[in-house]
Each structure stands twice: as C-alpha cells, then as structure tokens.
C-alpha cells in the first residue's frame, strides 16, 4: 500500500487510520538513506514528497520554514537566490529535509556550523493519534516547553512523521577555499588537525583521510578572505579553489560504497589517532575518513563475509573501549542478521522504549527499527 499525503492534516489522518488498523508504516523521503530497512510485504509506504515547498524564508531574520518533503537541494537553491544557505552538507543531494532530520545526516560542516540538532529551531510532526504536534517555533532562541526537536533528530521515523521544519540559515560566505596535504602517519595527521581545532579559525571542514597506506589532511575554510587565507596557510599543503572538488568525493564515497561494510564511529577527539591506527591494520580495511573536529570516523571494510564480520566487530569494540560508540551504516544484506546481533542497548534505552511506546503505542511506525 502507498500513502501519499498532500498536506500535514492528511498525513496525520493517514497515520491515525493506519494505527487503528494496526497497519505498519515505513516513511520514505528521498529514499536515499544508506541501508534503509526493507519494507516488508504487509507494510504501507508513506511518501512525503507531496509535502514540499518553502513555506517562508525571512532573510533578515536568518530563518527558513520548509515542508519536510522538500529536497535539501531545492531549499539551498531557494535560499541562494537571496544570498543565503542552510549550513548542512550531508551526503545525497537527493535527500528530503525530513529525511535529513530523521536520519541526523550531517556533513563536514558540523565543526563550524553545528549539526542538524543545532540548526533546527522548529518542527511540526504528524503523530499516530492523528494530531499534529508543534515544537520550538520560528525564533532562534526559545526554551518554552520541552525541546521535542531534539527528540526527532535521529529518530528515524519511529516517533512520527515530520511535516514541517524551521532552520537557522546564514549568508553565503564571501570566499571559500581548501587545501590538501599528506602526513606520515595517523599521529601526525591528527596532531595537525588538532592544532587547527584549538585555534579560533573554525574551518568548514577538517578531514583526515587514509587509504592504501597514505594519510591526507583536507582543510576547508569559508568567510572573509583574510581568514580563509590564513586558515589555508596554517593548514599547509596544496590549495584548491573549490572545496567541493575535495569534499564531495570524500563524503559520497562512503555513502556510495556498495561492497562490504561501512562502520560509523563517534569517539572523543583524542581517541582518533589510536582508533584510526588500530582499524587501519584490520583485515579488509579499505579506507577511513575522519571528521577530525568532531571525532566522527567512517571506516570502509571489504572482503569476504567472515573478514568483514570480524573486522566490524573489532572496529565497534575499539570505539566503545575508547569512550565512544559505533554502528554499521551500510552493510551487505548477507551480513545484516549476523551484525544485528552485535547491537547493544544504549544507556537510557528503557527511557527510549517508554518514549516510543508513548508516541506510537501500537508500534506501527518503522517496526523493528532499532532505537540504537
């Protein structure tokens, strides 16, 4: 069954009918998320593309309100007409705004601009009881009531269907630039990245990339010419005028990696060198891309199932031992069941379970999707 609501009320009504019929529902935005859970034969698929368009862009307030089915790239195009942008650069230009929020998809700009949770200031969400719940608003500062926006970021459609969202936006930077340089090993690559993190330069990307024995540091900057120049000078290496030339391949490479598994680890900053050094020696190691300013590290593993399984386990264990967490972001279907057994319940899982039961008492939304 296919559900294609054309407005927020219709979306809420469709959810209520589904709940009454105990009909399971999968929510699909752009359909770009890595590793989507397959819709099972009995599932209804709710598509949000009918809920699209920019509702309100107030350049002087630096805010934009959009319907959740709008493609991120369309939002950027609309903002660019007025010289502004939404500082989110997740993989997949084809993602919808709702998908970006639900999957908490971020790119390399987090260090400078914050992540989805930091930029999202308001939401309207269709719930399974047929109501529309608003949280936050259109102002950049707001502590009235609980911050349900935060709960929705990364909730993977398990609590409700986001139908509208308001974000903080920024003026497009005057200048951009990037540099790439090589490093001898993990320690020196991360040490150089760490030195930049400790300045007030606030680069727009700070990436350590490791492949076939080579370590690279990619730094991007945006804003005033003087600051961009200095950032690139301190970063050293070869300059590249268009940062996207370096960053887009790095970002999309892992998302597009069809073979093997991609492990996504989030670890304390200083744990990156030992983590990177360790995983790069695992069997089947292919490539590592670390957002060195936030400690989010993607690891691509290849090989036969047994190799991938063993190395995935080792990478996840390493992240946990170092004070972080990790999960597989993309994995071959043949390995899914095996690796699912590795999932552990995150701290506070019982609270997450209670929240899920309160928002979706019949468990119709994205069943089996783990809360972790």
């Amino acid at each position: 069954m296919q559900l294609d609501p054309s407005d927020a009320r219709e979306c809420a009504a469709a959810l209520r009918s589904a709940a009454e019929a105990r009909q399971t529902v999968r929510v699909r935005g752009g359909g770009t998320k890595a590793d989507p859970d397959e819709a099972l034969p009995g599932d209804a698929v709710l598509r949000t593309r009918g809920l699209s368009g920019v509702v309100d862009h107030v350049p002087a307030d630096l805010t934009v309100t959009v319907r959740a089915g709008t493609l991120l790239r369309d939002v950027q195009a609309a903002l660019a007409e007025r010289g502004q942008f939404l500082p989110l650069d997740p993989p997949h230009g084809g993602a919808t705004i709702g998908g970006v929020i639900a999957a908490n998809s971020n790119g390399f700009g987090t260090l400078r601009y914050g992540a989805v949770r930091d930029l999202l200031i308001g939401t309207t969400t269709a719930l399974t009881d047929g109501t529309l719940a608003r949280a936050g608003g259109r102002v950049v500062k707001n502590v009235a009531g609980y911050d349900l926006n935060k709960l929705l970021v990364g909730s993977l459609g398990t609590l409700g269907v986001i139908v509208e969202a308001t974000f903080k936006v920024l003026p497009l930077p005057a200048t951009r630039g990037a540099s790439v340089s090589s490093a001898t090993d993990a320690t020196s690559a991360f040490a150089r990245a760490g030195a930049i993190v400790r300045t007030s330069l606030r680069p727009t990307a700070l990436v350590v990339d490791h492949e076939r024995g080579a370590w690279r540091l990619v730094v991007a900057a945006a804003g005033e010419q003087a600051v961009v120049d200095r950032t690139l000078r301190e970063a050293g290496g070869d300059h590249v005028a268009d940062p996207d030339r370096l960053l887009v391949p790095l970002r999309d490479l892992l998302a597009a990696a069809a073979e093997g598994a991609v492990v996504r680890a989030t670890i304390p900053l200083a744990a990156q060198p030992p983590f990177a050094g360790g995983v790069s020696r695992l069997d089947g190691f292919e490539r590592l891309v670390a957002d060195a300013g936030t400690g989010i590290v993607h690891v691509h593993l290849r090989g036969d199932d047994a190799t991938i399984a063993a190395s995935t386990v080792a990478a996840i264990a390493s992240a946990r031992v170092l004070g972080g967490s990790a999960r597989t972001e993309r994995v071959a279907p043949s390995l899914r069941r095996h690796l699912a057994a590795l999932r552990t319940e995150p701290p506070g899982h019982f609270l997450m379970r209670r929240l899920k039961d309160a928002f979706d008492p019949r468990g119709i939304l994205e069943p089996e999707r783990s809360l972790a």
């Binding site: 805010t63 608003r134 500062k141 911050d147 349900l148 003026p171 300045t199 007030s200």
Partner: protein, 482 residues
C-alpha cells in the same frame, strides 16, 4: 508500600526519615533554615518541607528512592538565581541543593571537555579552563553565581551565545537521577551518542524530568582577539534598525546587546560604564575570532551604526575598557535597584525584524499600567528583557498589576511570531501562559516526555505545564476542551 506523608505533618516525620537516611549534616529543617530556600531570582515564594544538601550521586539516588516511597516532591536547586521560580517548592517537598556537589571532576583539554558536578559555579569553569586556552561558551549575566546544573536545567544563554550557541549546544554527557532513584548515564565525551537524543531533551527541562548529578560539557578555544564597539543612538528605533542592518550584512558578531535610556541611567549610576546619558539607546557589539579581518569587521559595524543614525561610537582599546563596557551590561539587572525597590523581568523572544514595533507595544503596556519599563536585552537573537519596575511593599495588588502587564508583553511577543521565553524558562512564572504559545496537541506530546521520565510526577511539580489549581483560565483541561 509506605504511606505517603500527609500535608502539614510532612515536616516532622519527613525530617526524621531524612536524617536517618542521610545523616544530620545533609538535612535542614528548622524554620530559619528553610526560609533561605523560599525564593529565587523571581518574584514568587514557597516554603520547602525540608532541604537536603547531598554529597554525591549516591545520596541523591537514596533520597529520590525515599521520596518516591513517600510520595514527596523533589525540587532541585542550584544557586537560586533563576528568573522563573524554577527552584521554588510550590507544592512543598524537599529542595535538593547542589551546593556541596560543586567540583570540576576532570578538565580534559585534549578532548575539549570538562566533567563537572552540577553545583559548580559557571564562571569557575571558564576560569579553570583559561590556562588551557579554553572556555565554556554560555555566559549568563549571572555567571559569577549561577551553577552549571542550573544552566543545563534552564538551557541558559548569555550575551555571547549569539554566535556560538546556548547551553544545549555545549553539553555532550549527563548523569541523571530519576525520581524513582534510578541513575542513568547518557552520552559522554564523544560528539553524540546512540539512540534518541535524551540529553537534548533533558537540557532545558527545568528539573521536571529528574535531577542532574554530573555534566560533561564542551570547552571551546578562547578567541584569539576581540573588538568591542559601543554606539549611542538618539532613539531605540534607530538602534533596532542598526541591529537588523548588522545581521543582514552577513557579519556574525559574537554579541549584540541593546539597552534603553532608563536602563542606561541606572547602569551609569551604579557601575559607571561610560555610556552617554543622553542617548535613547546604547548598542554593544562584539566581534571575536582570528585577528585577521577583525578590524575590518569592527569598521563595518561602526559604519552600519553611523548609517543608521548613531551619534557617538566608542571602541574599547584595551581589555580593561572592554571589561568596563561589559560591566555595565552584566550589572544592568542589579542596577535596577537605583530606579525602584523591585523589578520583574520578562524574557520574550521575537523575530529580529520585529524589534521596533514590539518595543513600541511594550512602551504602550507600561503607559497603560502606569509602570516604568526598562529594556536591556540580547538584540542579536531577538531575546527581549523588559524590566517592569515596582515597589512590592505597596501590597499584593501592585504585584498582580505588574504580572498582568507582563502577560500583555508576552502576548505582544507571541503576536509577532515569537516565544514567551528565550532563556529564563517557564517555571511557575509562565506555566499558565504556555498554552498561549502551544496548543493542546503540542502540550500532549510534551507530556509524553514528562511521563516517560517521571511517571509519579514528583520532579519539580507544578512547573512548565499549567496546573488546574493555579491556572484557572488556562488549565490543560480547559485548553483541551476548546
């Protein structure tokens, strides 16, 4: 199951139980002691049945278990500087003071994190981090007194959170104690953790979801340099236009604050910050970051101020001068004592473009109610702080009038598409007005969260959400039946 304490008899029985559980040192119960915990920075008061000053998380968990067995409310308290009555025990119960849990447990410069106890005073953290070239961004004007636990509970902001985010953008780990005594550790030093963002939900929950016993915060590199500009304008309208122009120009100052003439006069008398007394409005703007380009930014701000009618501009040349300019702003609330015995501060937020017309409406409210209103606020993010001046000794009618004027101001903010609170919280001050901003369905969703964390309803009761007893017009029930 133990019997609940009956109101009125709570005092003596509760006191004995708490002393048996935690020891004499940890429990206050005599009238003169309890009186010290009747108030916070706002205008409401209520007396607790007892005050407990725990030493560690285990004390807090034991206390919570005991209170849940006896159905006694728990009201966490930091420094009591809150401006919405958050730490006031409206329904009695135990006030939990975090004064003894005030240490920095770990200053982890390599990971840009600090692990602290909730009772730590905000400024102490930045002072301790400074030798490492780091600081904690949220800087409420009360930072010499308020605690990090209170900041997390209120999701506090400050003059410099405009560019770098409020408290919620700087917390990566929490240890919390639920009202049934369960200890839960969420997140840690990593950028984010798995599952729902329970930390994001807990920050700003005003003590109504449980008690915070440990916090892991992000530390940020100190800016390499700063430039601070003070501009005087003949009218508030012109100053507001200048703020809009600065925001629209693409500059992202770390702070943009405004102050009207009434406030300026009070501040000058008390602090002597050097603001011109004849100005209709004073604007303070700061840019910080890499030295390169800072002078250019400063020059552009000066230019935009002049283009919008600034009559005089001063740039702080030294750190001392900068501190003096900021001392005026940070001491503004305290300076109100020069104008009237009491003040009642509002905290509405509006889209930044609506500053001039909402400020005019606030002035009209003042005229209609015959009260003087001073304005000192975070203009860069549209967060207003109208200070309604009054004399509480003239009786309860005066306070009632002042509160009514406050509600009208909040309505003006909501009419402009804003919020009833930007950083001070809803507390017991504005809980009756929350339904003006959110409808029954919105509130119902928020209450799912309350019940998930605190099913017994013992965490800071009668805060945030309207209660039938205190909010005749706006009880949840009434709102639902509309």
């Amino acid at each position: 199951m133990a019997t609940p304490f009956v109101a009125g008899t709570r005092g003596a029985v509760l006191h004995r139980g708490l002393v048996d559980l935690l020891g004499e040192e940890q429990v206050l119960w005599q009238k003169h002691d309890l009186q010290l915990y009747e108030y916070d920075g706002a205008v409401d008061t209520a007396t607790p049945d007892a005050v407990v000053i725990p030493r560690d998380t285990a004390d807090v968990a034991n206390l919570a278990r005991f209170c849940s067995e006896h159905n006694v409310p728990l009201v966490p308290r930091g420094a009591g500087t809150g401006l919405s009555g958050g730490a006031i025990p409206v329904e009695g119960g135990v006030v939990v003071s975090f004064a003894r849990m005030s240490r920095i447990l770990e200053l982890d410069a390599a990971n840009l994190r600090a692990v602290v106890q909730p009772g730590l005073v905000n400024l102490h953290l930045s002072t301790a981090a400074a030798p490492h070239g780091l600081y904690f961004v949220p800087d409420p004007s009360s930072q010499k007194a308020c605690t990090i636990g209170g900041n997390v509970a209120e999701n506090s902001g400050g003059p410099h959170t405009l560019a770098y985010g409020v408290t919620t953008n700087h917390v990566t780990g929490l240890e919390i104690v639920l009202t049934d005594g369960t200890i839960v550790r969420l997140g840690g030093k990593a950028h984010e953790s798995e599952g729902y963002d329970l930390i994001g939900l807990f920050v700003g929950s005003e003590g109504t979801l449980g008690l915070i016993t440990e916090i892991t915060v992000r530390l940020s590199p100190l800016p390499e340099d700063k430039r601070t500009v003070m501009a005087a304008f003949p009218t508030m309208d012109l100053a507001s236009e200048a703020v809009s122009a600065i925001i629209a120009s693409g500059l992202v100052p770390s702070a943009i604050e405004l102050m009207d003439q009434l406030a300026t006069v009070a501040v000058e008398a008390s602090v002597g910050a050097g603001y011109p007394l004849d100005a209709g409005a004073i604007l303070l703007a700061e840019v910080d970051g890499p030295r390169d380009g800072l002078d250019d930014h400063r020059a552009r701000i000066e230019e935009l101020c002049r283009a919008n009618g600034a009559t005089s501009i001063r740039v702080a040349e030294t750190a001392l001068e900068r501190d003096r300019l900021w001392a005026g702003r940070k001491g503004a609330f305290a300076a109100m004592g020069r104008l009237a015995p009491d003040y009642y501060v509002q905290d509405g937020v509006i889209p930044r473009t609506r500053l001039p017309d909402v400020l005019r409406r606030i002035a009209e409210v003042g005229e209609r109610y015959g009260v003087r209103i001073a304005n000192v606020f975070h203009a860069g993010d549209g967060n207003l702080h109208p200070l309604i001046l009054f004399d509480g000794s003239l009786g309860p009618d005066v306070l009632r009038q002042v509160k009514a004027a406050g509600v009208e101001i909040l309505r003006a903010c909501l009419d402009a598409g804003g919020s009833i609170t930007g950083e001070h919280g809803v507390g017991m001050e504005k809980n009756c007005e929350l339904p003006l901003q959110y409808g029954p369905d919105d509130l119902a969703a928020m209450l799912h969260v309350k019940r998930a964390f605190d099913p017994a309803g013992l965490a800071n009761p009668a805060k945030i959400f309207p209660t039938p007893s205190r909010c005749r017009e706006f009880s949840l029930h009434a709102a639902r039946s509309v």
